[in-house]
């Protein structure tokens, strides 16, 4: 997110465009009680996003729900034409997301009224990336779209080598995205022209992070890659026990990547050295949220796990419904999260 926001906000996937997976605020302790909880009438595979006192959650019943942060009550809802898997992004008063039928929406965050919609020709599994007035969305239809944030007008769209479930990472010059055919590709952000591509050994379902001029991304081929952002050359790679499908989050020289082998790995960005790895109760497909001292993940199987960022030691664990791709939203005094059975929770932290 490149627009000004309060420290409280979490307006997009992994918090903001830095893909840090968090910000300076962090829970002061483990969850002690539920402030409220909701059960939406469909599965939820997305993460919540928070803007002001509005929590936005997309649901496979085809609805975008805007919930009151304090009560959990529905302020408004918007019905899309198809089920929604995409984690929304909020920018300049619009909630942005794609549905499973290839329709992309911009909905007014104050009212829930649609401002514009665009045909993207494929299901959106990933989240929109918003950068300097432009929205970028890859689809399982094998295309990457660049749309004007204000109008939805198409700037360009680029053909990918396969379907994409990866959320693009935007820098001033480029976009980086993973693809089902195993490639990580860089595009010129203004033109959509391909800059470079690097082939991995299996589909790249993970979403890239970016730090120290490296594109940091996992592959189903069991490797986590650091690619030179200028030319795509592999600077280092680290092997896990299963595929890396969880989007990476990075902060202060470290990258945190969940793996389907059930571990969360902390690697040094500069050289791929293993700082620690922490066993979780189940496989990890969702991204980690990172704060000054915590790393929080929702492994498949039903829990919210908080690890000490420095060591990977488990600090606390809250047993909840199961999640797959969800990442919690962390604030100073609460944790907001979704579970795939339609659960939405606001948890008070001690």
């Amino acid at each position: 997110m490149d627009t000004p926001r309060s420290v409280h906000d979490w307006p997009t996937f992994l918090g903001d465009n830095a893909r840090r997976g968090g910000h300076s605020g962090e829970p002061s302790g483990p969850p002690s009680a539920a402030i409220w909880q909701r059960r939406l009438p469909g599965l939820v595979f997305s993460s919540p996003v928070l803007i002001g006192d509005l929590l936005c959650v997309t649901c496979m019943d085809g609805t975008l729900y805007a919930l009151d942060l304090d009560s959990g009550h529905t302020r408004w809802s918007f019905s899309a034409a198809n089920p929604i898997h995409s984690t929304p992004a909020v920018a300049e008063g619009r909630v942005l997301f794609g549905d499973q039928g290839g329709v992309f929406y911009a909905v007014e965050s104050a009212t829930g009224k649609v401002q514009w919609q665009a045909d993207t020709g494929g299901a959106a599994w990933s989240s929109p990336t918003v950068f300097q007035g432009t929205v970028y969305q890859g689809t399982t239809g094998g295309r990457l779209h660049s749309l004007d944030l204000q109008t939805g007008r198409r700037h360009w769209d680029a053909e990918l080598a396969g379907g994409s479930c990866s959320t693009a990472f935007a820098t001033h010059d480029r976009l980086y995205i993973g693809c089902g055919d195993g490639r990580v590709t860089a595009y010129e952000r203004e033109s959509g022209r391909k800059s470079w591509e690097t082939q991995t050994g299996a589909p790249v379902l993970s979403s890239p992070a970016f730090a120290e001029n490296l594109v940091l991304v996992g592959s189903e081929d069991r490797f986590f890659y650091a690619l030179d952002a200028d030319n795509g050359q592999v600077r280092w790679r680290y092997r896990g026990g299963q595929g890396f499908v969880a989007p990476a989050a990075c902060a202060d020289g470290s990258v945190y990547a969940g793996c389907k082998d059930g571990y969360l790995y902390a690697l040094t960005i500069a050289d791929g050295r293993l700082e620690w790895k922490a066993r979780t109760p189940q496989i990890v497909c969702g991204a980690a949220a990172v704060t000054a001292s915590l790393v929080c993940v929702q492994p498949y199987g039903g829990s919210l796990l908080a690890l000490e960022r420095r060591s990977g030691r488990q600090l606390w664990r809250a047993r909840l419904g199961s999640a797959i791709h969800s990442t919690p939203v962390l604030t100073v005094n609460r944790v907001l999260l979704t579970t795939y059975n339609g659960g939405v929770y606001a948890l008070r932290c001690a």
């Binding site: 499973q100 399982t140 050994g201 189903e220 595929g243 389907k260």
Partner: protein, 405 residues
């Protein structure tokens, strides 16, 4: 009601009729009876399926009694499935199964450009014991060779979250849909559900929901089905092969067949179950029976105990094998032989055993291969054969073995 072939019925449709069949645990197969083993009460059931099977259509398909087993020494390298080896294995297997000169010709024997093809995977279990995404990828390639359009292909099973954890969505070309039928569409365009007109109705253990409905992916969306089960032992059904994979993945409300308590009849689920005869009965229901035209069993890794979820790696081995056939019963018979062989090698009791001293809890069973939490319904394979769904006698099966590399 549609009478399954071999049940003694006349074959005419009578939706109000109830058909009684022998209950679970019928003396089928090679097990030895025990004084402590009790047969469940006979199962009354009703099948509601408006259309009969077309003449000569469906199981056992084009090649009754034929099973092709393809081994490749490099199918798994460094714990990863080799995409190129799978391609070679599948091409060799399809040619051997059909006698066609090329893989393209082989695929065209089953599929045409007008078909809508549902690909049934098995995503239940720890990673590595589910249908390999690499195999799904190659099956899609084979269908494309036959001219089937990607937008006319659907990969499906019941639970969307299991499909997602296995990452099938990452291996699908643009256009191919991924559907979890238990709730809502996962990826694609249209809503799916279950067909109110096609169901199997029975009470196993006094459950209140007595019907199991067929998925509309099978009944309405697809014209053909490719079934991709895994080489796995199953604690309740003995094996979870072609028959169980397609039956229990296509109908709703199937857990009741092996869980629950009936206080009136004084029976309960574990260690008893009704998977025999319910698995073969479900497979006999139209249009599932006639649409299932090809089975390709993923035996790259085998599970000889602890299935279907296989929580312990101790019971998983790299078999590096694919099995191909149209005859689901013959395929499962060969699967059963392979698992029995492996269990003998490991000192585990037969899947046909009926020894009460071997019955234990699920958690103990997951650790100890000499124990189980059910009297396994391994006989469902033979029951299917007796119903005319395929060839169950090993001596009547043409089992062809190939080494592809």
């Amino acid at each position: 009601m549609q009478r399954p072939k071999g049940s003694g019925g006349s074959g005419e449709l009578d939706r109000r009729d109830f058909l009684k069949v022998a209950g679970a645990g019928l003396a089928i197969g090679g097990f030895t009876s025990s004084a402590d083993f009790k047969e469940l009460p006979k199962l009354e059931y009703r099948i509601h399926a408006p259309k009969p099977a077309p003449e000569g259509g469906g199981l056992p398909g084009k090649f009754p009694g034929r099973v092709v087993e393809v081994f490749h020494s490099k199918a798994i390298i460094d714990d990863r499935v080799s995409q190129s080896a799978i391609r070679t294995m599948l091409e060799r297997g399809m040619k051997e199964l059909t006698g066609a000169p090329t893989a393209v010709d082989a695929w065209r024997m089953f599929f045409s450009p007008d078909d809508v093809v549902a690909i049934k995977v098995n995503p239940s279990g720890v990673l590595g014991t589910t249908t390999s995404p690499e195999l799904v990828h190659e099956v899609i390639r084979g269908l494309e060779l036959a001219g089937v359009k990607p937008e006319n292909m659907v990969v499906f099973d019941r639970f969307p979250w299991q499909l997602m954890v296995s990452s099938y969505h990452g291996y699908l070309p643009p256009g191919v849909r991924l559907i979890g039928t238990a709730d809502v569409l996962v990826a694609g365009g249209q809503a799916v559900g279950h067909d109110p007109e096609i169901f199997f109705e029975t009470t196993c253990f006094s459950e209140l929901e007595t019907r199991s409905y067929l998925s509309t992916v099978v009944s309405r969306m697809a014209t053909k089905i490719v079934n991709l089960p895994c080489l796995k032992e199953h604690g309740a059904s003995g094996v979870t092969g072609c028959l169980k994979n397609i039956a229990y993945g296509s109908f709703t409300n199937v857990a009741r067949t092996h869980t629950g308590t009936d206080e009136i009849r004084g029976i309960s689920g574990p260690p008893y179950c009704y998977l025999d005869p319910i698995i073969p009965l479900m497979c006999s229901i139209e249009p599932l029976r006639s649409k299932l035209v090809l089975n390709i069993m993923d035996g790259l890794r085998g599970v000889w105990h602890g299935g279907p979820f296989a929580p312990s790696a101790d019971f998983i081995w790299e078999a590096k094998t694919l099995y191909l056939g149209t005859d689901a019963v013959a395929m499962d018979t060969i699967e059963l032989e392979a698992l029995e062989r492996k269990r003998r090698e490991k000192g585990a009791p037969s899947l046909w055993a009926r020894d009460p001293s071997q019955i234990t809890s699920r958690s103990e069973r997951d650790k100890d291969p000499t124990k189980n939490d059910y009297y396994r319904a391994t006989g469902h394979v033979r029951t299917a054969g007796q119903m005319g769904l395929g060839v169950w006698e090993p001596s009547h099966i043409s089992h062809r073995k190939i080494e592809a590399g």
